[in-house]
Symmetry: C2
Amino acid sequence: MNSQQLENLVHKEIPITKALDIRIDELRNQSIRVTAPFETNKNIHNTAFAGSIYTVATIAGWSLVSNLASNLALEGSVVLAKAEVQYKKPINGDIVAQCEIQEQSSLETFVSSFKRKNRARLNLIIDVVEDGVIKAQLNANFALVGH
Amino acid sequence: MNSQQLENLVHKEIPITKALDIRIDELRNQSIRVTAPFETNKNIHNTAFAGSIYTVATIAGWSLVSNLASNLALEGSVVLAKAEVQYKKPINGDIVAQCEIQEQSSLETFVSSFKRKNRARLNLIIDVVEDGVIKAQLNANFALVGH
């Protein structure tokens, strides 16, 4: 998929993401950047809302795993099993969530596990950044569940 | 505050909560129930979206702490510092998040700490329930930061 196709998929699979105005900004095979505008997701204190920060980060992970599965012809649904989020500093502008799979071995284990058991898990760290600083971080565990 | 006043405050402070159609369903001094309708927050697989589940649970905690602070005349902003969420089972209907402060001592520590340092933290467990079963659980750490 390209970024526009993946964005369309996200909006179709999870309609509320349109209300948050979530966009797939950049997509590579093992990395992604997902954004949402400040105006739509700010609170009265003029900082980004914690729930929106979490949701944008979650969508980054979900989209990256969905795209990987599609590219590798692994047919299944991507489900978030658990997550930990840390809010380090307030965000005063657009929400920008980035994720990159750096350990090739974790991806290989994920793929071989899915091929063997029709089910596999992948742990991702998603950074929410502003002006080069990590303002929030999500540690999320996704499952790909075969049909 | 009563539940309607608190709901109005949530919608005013965090406008995106209106798009998710988040409602304060029941409010007592030390407990709260917050809901959001299935239709608005479902995904294509006909289960509630993980991001919406998290957000409704977060709003339950945020609202309960805001109401407590208001009742106790502690002036400050309620900020979510970190959270852990576990998705145990799919939710096939409305999102219903419940939270009750059961340990009186944690509340007393929170109040005395705020009075001394103009800043205090409170840890809350928020259950997301359906048909009497806990389908997801949020362990969230809120800070009340004095003005």
